[in-house]
Symmetry: C2
Subunit: 424 residues, 2 copies
Amino acid sequence: MRANIKRNEQRRVVVVGGGLGGLKMVSSLRDTDYQVVLVDKNNYNQFPPLIYQVASAGLEPSNISFPFRRLFQGWKNFFFRMAEVEHIDTEEKAIRTSIGTIHYDDLVLAAGATTNFFGNKNIEASALPMKSVSEAMRLRNTILQNLERAETEDNEACRQALMNIAIVGGGPSGVEIAGALAEMKRTILPRDYPDLDTSCMRIYLINAAPRLLGAMAEKSSREAEKALKELGVEIMAGCMVTDYVDHELILKDGNHLPVETVIWVSGIRANHIDGIPADSIGRGGRIITDRFNRVKGMENVYAIGDQCLIEGDKAYPQGHPQLAQVAMQQAENLAMNLKRQDKNEQEHPFSYRNLGTMATIGRKKAVVEIGRLKFGGFFAWLLWLVVHLRSILGVRNKTIVFLNWMWSYFNYKQSLRLILKAKR
Amino acid sequence: MRANIKRNEQRRVVVVGGGLGGLKMVSSLRDTDYQVVLVDKNNYNQFPPLIYQVASAGLEPSNISFPFRRLFQGWKNFFFRMAEVEHIDTEEKAIRTSIGTIHYDDLVLAAGATTNFFGNKNIEASALPMKSVSEAMRLRNTILQNLERAETEDNEACRQALMNIAIVGGGPSGVEIAGALAEMKRTILPRDYPDLDTSCMRIYLINAAPRLLGAMAEKSSREAEKALKELGVEIMAGCMVTDYVDHELILKDGNHLPVETVIWVSGIRANHIDGIPADSIGRGGRIITDRFNRVKGMENVYAIGDQCLIEGDKAYPQGHPQLAQVAMQQAENLAMNLKRQDKNEQEHPFSYRNLGTMATIGRKKAVVEIGRLKFGGFFAWLLWLVVHLRSILGVRNKTIVFLNWMWSYFNYKQSLRLILKAKR
């Protein structure tokens, strides 16, 4: 097997991972004198902020996924390869992948992060993560299947557990999926399941910290909590999950929650790639870099985004938050630095500009923070909508997502409640 | 386990299968004095005429699938149950299902047909059927994965086999998928796979009969053949496939075709349900009924659509063609007859009115036959478009399918080329 990429005289930059960081990296190197290779295990880019809408049957997987090859049509000196990266060989300046060896002059690691189950095997086996489109499809299938099963379940306790949903993790993903499911419970399920008393279904949002949206201001947390409570979400703050046994979620305070659907959005861990020195791996599996995103102890190897941990930025002594914005800004800065190297110009250290944070609750509320400006409600939701529509790749996707949102805004009749599986 | 359907004084009609026939059956019994139960193994209805567009990445599964529960919101005396039917117990007037026993007063079998591999295990294991949305998703994933593999395959013969596609079966499904894939080969693949010489990719359409679209007039066959040839499809007429060994399709004339993607649309077989007397099963596994759709040798059990074979209609001595129109007309007639029984009126035997047949080739051609009127080309395609848009369930689906078609008509840039799998 061979990766089938003809070497030329150009400097070759190999980017591992086509998430928001990797994609920004390759597009920043477009029309420059580099040969660029993007390696990803999927043939599409996915848009993380809306994965929860796929899980809650509001959007279709394809609405927030975009095929790489479609994106790169007509690009020069550019190669996409669908492959799993197995190992970095710094001696040979090459990565070993499932489709063969790919040599690099510069290697950019942008493979992101995955769900962290903190070593609990029971939870890993039963809880549902929500980091990718395929995980969201599985989550949607599971919620709908459990409701179908609940409708014909004799045992009352089992029926209750099949209806209940626990969301573990009170960050933006947890808040957003809780809001979406609570709205589904109120507006769709009573009409879809007339023979099931869905009013007794319970949606728990379990957060280890004392308040939701810990990265945002207290005002935003309070607003989110109020909005979720109004929708019927039961918020359990300062509450730790220790295990999942016999269809019950076990809490540190000794309580047991009977629940068949456990959504785990409680933490992430950087994806691991073999060949990186052990002492270059920091907290959460993140790859330690300097402020130029150069991996500690490696040459011509860079890491960006969720996968990296920049040391030496006084404003962020614990490293930067694992956010899309950070990844994209790092990609832009690194691309500029590569070009500066060629021109023998001084490279610039990465410095993060926080453009604002937001989270949406249900289908017409959000909380937004831009600098000192903090606001919530309908206007915040409109802003959230515009910002996210702008970021989705492809005119077709933008149009369909927009139509979908308008549709559900006006009549709440989205019809994606399909248990869909590709046959094997 | 229990199916959880409360018995009342109403006559209960249980319908097995929510395809076009089953759905027409239950909707014809809406707002009448029956208790109606629909049982299907999926939670959605799918629209067979457009499954080939899902397989060829033109439409999304959800565009042609519609959740039953959404459809039946607010219907009275109506129950949907997602279940597999295991056995009919005529003694007890009940069906045994994966969710328990469901009693009936009248049972309507509308479970359709599945792909017939004619007993060839090698073909069954390797060839891809295209009868359901989930099969179409698998087909799309396979075609795209094989192209990714081709791009990095060293061996020229293997690379060629990975690119080639053989479609076995020259009916409407075979003609339509061949046209869609040939257009994809011409317009999309060279741009998506610049490192792969897709011009040497071969698309074979293998037909046992001497002409394509055997159920239509010779004129239509000739037009379809001409249009497909222009698109680059290699039509092999009067050609039988006998086996599939070592990535090669083996033909009766001794020839071998190296091909990794084999699409099998060569025949169907009625779905089997236990509990029907052996001598009530006819050709192709179809359940033999009289002209009132009453299953031979059973009481209060009816069969309609692809699953049934009406005996005694002089106009169709071999039974009716297995078409959506036949199934829907049978459903309407049977629903009327059930009501006539209650009113002690004379029941009407089924009689088929052929409203016309059509098949589309590529994205702007079709052949249409309505009575003696036979025409092809752009206007036929427009008619095909209107007829199919009208039949798709749901305003949202109609809108999105229409937008998709316009999109691809004007710029051929549909972007659904995703290898998407629900994680397990």
